[in-house]
Amino acid sequence: MITFLIALCSIPLLGFLICLFIPRNNEWLLSRLSFLVVGAHTVLSQIFILAWLWSGLHDINYIGPTFYASDNYKFFLSLYFDKVSATYLFVGSLLTFLITVYSRYYLHREKGYKRFFTTILMFYFGYNLIICSGNFEILFMGWEILGISSFLLIAFYRDRYLPVKNALKVFSIYRLGDVGLLLATWLSHLLWHENITFEKLNNYSLVHDHISTHTVFGFFLAIMILLSASAKSAQFPFSSWLPRAMEGPTPSSAIFYGSLSVHIGAFILLRTSPLWENQISARVCIALVGLATAFITNSCARVQSSIKSQVAYSSLTQIGIMFVEISLGLHSLALFHFAGNAFLRTYQLLVSPSVVSYLIREQVYNFQPHQEKNNFTFMGRLRTTIYLLSLKEWNMDFLLEAFLWRPIKTLGKRVSFLTDPLGFTIFIATSIAIFSAILFNEDVPFDLTRIISPILAFLGFVMVVKAFTERKSAITSWTMVTLNHFFVAGAVLVMEHFDWEHLVIYLSGVLLAWGLGFITLGRLKTMEKSLSLNNFQGHVYSHRTLGTLFLVACLGLTGFPITSTFIGEDLIFHHITAQHLWMAVFVSFSYVLDGLAIMRIYARVFLGPNNTGDHAVAYRSS
C-alpha cells in the first residue's frame, strides 16, 4: 500500500517533468501526455481507494528518507492517508481528469497550451502532496507548489493587465496563509521538540498534555492554522480574492477556484483538528469565521450580476458552512459537503457561458416585472444598506488595503533615501560592520546580541519594505530582497548559538537564486535599456527564455522547494526560541513581504501589456 501511495504522489510530478521538455507547439503530444498522466493517476487512485476501503480503512502512515538532520531537527518525507485524504483524492482525481479531458479540446490553438498543461500537472502534484502529507513540512511543500501554480494560472493571460494584477493580489493573500502555516510549524516544533507527524497528533495524551500546559501557544497555534485555512479558502476577511481569481480559461477557474484549491483550507482544518479540537476558544473562532463568511458571501452572491462571481461567492458560502461543521466536529458531514460542493460548482462554472441563451429564453416565457418597494422605511433602508454593502463586498478589500498594504507603502516611501547612492553606501557599510563584529568576534557579550538581533531584523525589514515599494530599478529591488535574507539569517542566528552549517544551507540557495536573477535581469537590461518597476512591461513577450529563467530565480529566492533554502528557512525558524515570539512574527512578516516583492519584480518586468512591437495590445481596462 505504501509503495502504491508513493507512486500516486509521484506520477503527477513525473508528468510535470516530462511535460517541461515537450516542444511548445506540439499540441498533440502535450494533450496526450496530460491525458495519460492524469488518466492513469485517476484510475490508480480509485483502485487504491477501493483497496484501502477493502482492507478496513486503516490509516496509513509512512516515514520516508530523511533529507536533513541535526540536533532535534529532522526534515524527512512523511505521508499519511486517512478518510480525509481519501475523500480529497477521490474528488480531486476525478475532477482533474474530467477537466484535463475537457481542456484538451477547449484550449486547442490557444497561445500557452503547454503552459496550461504544465501548470495543471504542477498543481496536481502539489494537491496530491498536500492531501497525502504526513507532517507540516511536506504539507508546506505542497502548499507552496499550489500557491505558485495558482499564480501562474490566474496570470495565464499574462499580456493583459487585470490577470496579472489579480494574480499578484491572490498571491499576496496566499502568502499571508503561508505565514500562518510557517508559524504553526514553528510552534509545533516548540511544543513537541520534533518534526511531529500527523499520525502522532492522533495520540490524544501527547497532544493534550503539551497544549494544556502551554495554553497561549496552543491557542496561537490554532489561530495560525485558522489564518492559513482562511486565506486559502477565501474566508472572511479574505473572500474578495476568489472571484478575482477567475481570470484564466474557464476550466482552470472551475477546478481551482470552484472546487479543489479553494477547499484546501477546510482540509487543513480537518487534518490538524487534534491540535485545536480540545480548545473551545479555538473552535468558537473557527465557527465564527465560518459563520461570518457564510453570511457575508451569501449576501455578496445574491447581488452578483456576473455569472462567475456568483458561483464563486455561492461556493464560499458553502465553505463557510463547512468551517462551522468542522468546528462542531461533524467531519464526515463536512467531507460529504465538500465533495458535493466541489462537483456542483465545477459544473456550474463549466456551463456558465450557456447562461445567456438559457436565461434569456426562460425570461421570454416567465418574465415578472419588478415590484416597487418603499426603500425609505426602516426595513427598506436596511435592505438598501445590505444591498450596497454586498455590492461593495463589505469593503473587505478596502480594509485590507487600509490596514495592511497602505501602511507598508507609506513606510517604504519614508525609507526611499536608501536608494540614493550615498544613503545606500552608508547603509551597507554599517550593516557590514555590524555583521563582521558579530561573526568574527566569538566573545561578543550576550547582552550585545540582544540589541543587535532586533536591529538586524529591523534593517532586513526596512530592506524588504523598500524593495516592495521601489519604482525605479528592478535590479536594486532584486538585490534588496536578497539582502533581507542575510539580515534575517544574521538576526536569528546571533540570538542563540551560531550555526555555520545552517547558515550555509539557508544562504546557498539564496545566493544561487540571486545570481541567476541578477544575470537574467542584467541581460534583459542591456537589450531593453531600462528596467523600471513603475509599470508592467510584459517583456516575456519577446524574451521567453529569460522570463522562465527569472521565474526560476524568483522561486529559488522565495524558498520554493527547489533549493536548499526551503529547508534552510525551516531551520532558521527552528532557531527562534519560545521567548522570542515577536521575532518569529517579525521574521515571518518580512518573509511575506519578501515573497511579494519578488513576485512583484517578476510581474512588473515580465508580465503585463507589452508595447514594444507590432502586435495587438488590449486596453488596460479589459
Partner: protein, 829 residues
Amino acid sequence: MTMKEIIKELKHYLPAQAPLKDFIHHNTLHAFQNMEFHKALQLSSEIFGAKMYLGLEEYRSLYAKGDITLAAMNRSIELVYGTGADKKEVIEKLTKGTFDCRIQARVGQLRKGWKEVYNLDMDSKVHPALFRFLCNFLDQGIALWGFPMVHMNFIDALRALERSSFVSIFNSGGRAHKLLLDTKTEIEDLLKIVVGNEAMYERYLFEQQMLHPGWSGLVSNIEDQPEALIDSRKITLQEVILFELLLEIDFLDQNKPDWKPLSSVYPVQLDPLFAEVKATELNAVMQTWHTAFEYSHYDQVMAALKSAPAPKVREKTDFQAIFCIDDRESSFRRYIEECHAGAETLSAPGFFGVEFFYQPENGKFYTKLCPAPMTPKYLIKQMDSREKIKTDLHFKQHTHSFIGGWFISQTLGFWSAFKLFISIFKPSMTPATASSLRHMDKVSRLVIENEHVHHHEHGLQVGFTIPEMTDRVYNLLRSIGLVDNFAPIVYLVGHGASSVNNPHYAAYDCGACSGRPGSVNARVFAYMANHHTVRSELSKRGLVIPRTTRFVGALHDTTRDEINFFDEEAIPLDMNPSHQLGQKVFNEALALNSKERSRRFESHNMSDSPASLLEQVRKRSVSLFEPRPELNHATNTLCIVGRRTLTQNVFLDRRVFLNSYDAAIDPEGEILTKILSAAVPVCGGINLEYFFSRVDNEKFGAGTKLPHNVMGLIGVANGIDGDLRPGLPSQMIEVHDPIRLLMIVEHSKDVALKAIQRIPAAFEWIQNDWMIYMSIDPADRATHVYKDGVMIPYAPPAMELPVIKDISKWVESSRDNLPMAILNNGGRS
C-alpha cells in the same frame, strides 16, 4: 461645443454593439467611414493605438509563399506610389526594409497625468466600481437581488440608493456624496473640479470613455434603443459620465486629499485627438502590402468568373430551393446542384422579404424577424405549440442561497459529477444548448393571415392582409428572377445555428432576421405563396404560379448540417414525389457539406466518410468544451449579385454571399438598387467587423473567449473586473483573412453605377474604398471596377486556374484557404 454636443459626438465614436441576444454585425469603425479607407485606418490607429493591418512579417511570408502575387503587387504599387514608381525599388523596400512598428495611442495621453503627477492608478480602482454599478443596474436576470429603484433613471436610482442606505456609495465621504445628492450638479461642475481648464474638458471626456469602450458603447446603445433590453432600463451616457467623475473625485479625495485639478498640475501640449496624421513611409508600405494581398485574391476571383464555362441548360427542374444569401449556404447549394442536376438554387436575404415581430406561444415579448434597421408593423403569433420548456437545475437560483445551497450541493452536487462525465464523454442536446429548432416549434401553428384590419396588439397588426402578402411574394420572386419555370416544389430554406456554452450564439444565426433563425420567415413566406387568393392576385400582375407548384418552408442548421421542413403534411399528394426527391438530395448534400466544413477543424480526419464527418460536426454543436461549433462568416470576401449561371461552375470556397438577380428583367436597375440597399450594409457590416476583429483582436475584437465571463446577460468580460468586450472573439476570426468585401454586380457598368449611386449610405462605402465594387456584363463578361466616380475597365492578369474533377478530393487537399477554381464535374458543364 456644449456638453450635449460633446456627448453626442463622443457617442458616435463608441462601439455600436447591442446586448448579446441581438448580435448584429456592423462596421467597427463606422465613425470613420466618411474618410478614405487607408486614411481612416491610419487615423484610428493613431487615436486608439490599434493595429490596422496584418503584421509586416505576415505579409512578407505570404509573398514568399506566393499567396501575394507579383501581378497584384505591381498593381498595388501603381495604386499607392503612382504609375511612375520604380517597382523594383519599392519591392526591395517592402521585402527588406526595417521600420519602427510601435504603435502609440493618443487616447490616454492626458489622463496619464494622474499617474505621472500623483503616482495614482485611478482607472484600476474607479473602473471596477463603475462597471459593478452599471452591470448591476442593467442586469437582465443573473443577480438574485435586483438593483433597488431600478425603474428610475440611472443617476436618480443611485441618488435614491445613497439617500436610503446607511452607508455611502463612496469611500471618502463628504464631497462626492454631497455632489451626487445635489440634483443641480452638472458634468461641467465636476469637470471644473477634476480637470480645471475648460479647453481640456472635451479631451478628458473622450479619453475617459474611450478607455472603457465596452461599457460606454453598450450604455450609449441602450440609450438609443431601450427596447434592446427585455427588462428595460433608463440610462444615458451622460449619467454614466457624471457618476464616473464622482467616483474619480471620491478616489482622489481618498488617496490624495490635497489634489489639484489635472490641467493645473499637468500642463501638456497634445495633438488634438482627431488631428490629421502625417503620412509615414511605413504607412505607404503597409497600404501597398495590404492592397497587393487583396488583389491577389480579387484577381483570382475575376479570372475564374470570366473563364468559367456556362452550365448546361437544365432539361427539367424537379425542385427549386431559395436560400439566404449567407456565405455558409454557398457550399450547400453547390452540393445540392451537384447531387441532382434537376435542382435549381436561388438566394435572397434570409427574411424572405417578410418583416414582422414574432411572438411564441406564452412568450411575453416580441422578437423582431427582419434586418435590424427595419421597424415592422406586423405581428405573427404562434399557437398550439406542444413543446415543453426543459429546465436545468444548475442555472437555478436556490443553488446560490444559504440553506438551498447547503442542501443542493450535497444532493444535486453528485448528480453534477455524473452530468459532467456524460457531457465530456457523450455530449448530447441539453436545456443549456442554444438550438436553432427551439426558435419555433415545428408542430405549432402560425397566425399569418390577418382576420380583419382592426386586429391589433400593442400597435401591431396581427398577420398580413391579402394585398400585403401579394406585394411581398411578388417583390421577392421578381428580385431573384424567379418569374417562370416553377418546379413542383419550391423550398424556402431559412438558416439558424446551434451551439452550447456560447454567449455569442446570436451572431451565428441569420443576420437578415436580426440574429435569429430564419424558420418563421420561411414558413410565413411559403404560406403566403401557397395562398390561393394571393396567387390569383399575383397572376393579375403577370406573375403566374402554376397550381402544380407548392412552396415549402425549411430550416437549415448551419452548425449541425441538419434540415427540417415545415407543414409537410399539407403538401398535396401529386407533389409528394418531388418532395421526397428533394429530401433525399438535401440529406446527401448535407453530408458532403459537413465534409467540406470539416477541413477547417483539425480534430476531424478528412479521410472519414461524409456520414461520419456529419456525425462529428453534430457532436461539435452540443459539446460544452468546443469553442468553435462552426466558423460562422469567417473567410468571407465576396458578394455576387447575379444569376446562378455566373457562379455555378466556379469554386469560391465558402467565401461568397450570393444574391440571385436577373438583369434581364431589370434593365433600369431598380430592383438592383433594392437588393444593394440590403446586401451592401449586411454583407459589408459582416465583412468589416471580421476585418477589424481580425487585425486587432484585442482592441476591436473580444480576445480569446476562453476566460469570458457573462455580465448581466448583456455582454462578456474577462474576469469580474474587466470592461465588456465587444467585437468577435479570436476563435471566430482566427482563420479569417482581412480582405475588404468585393461586391460584384452582374449588369452593365452604367446601370451598376447608377444603381449604387441611388443609395447614398451604401455609396459612401464604395466611394471611400471600404468595399470594392465591380460589375460584370451579362452580355460579354466584361469587368469594370469603381474608381473615383466612374467604372473603369479591370482585367485580371492571365492565370492558370485549377480545374476540379472531384470536389470531394479537392476539399481534402488542404485545411487552409483553397484557390478559386473551375468546377468540371464530368458531364455537368
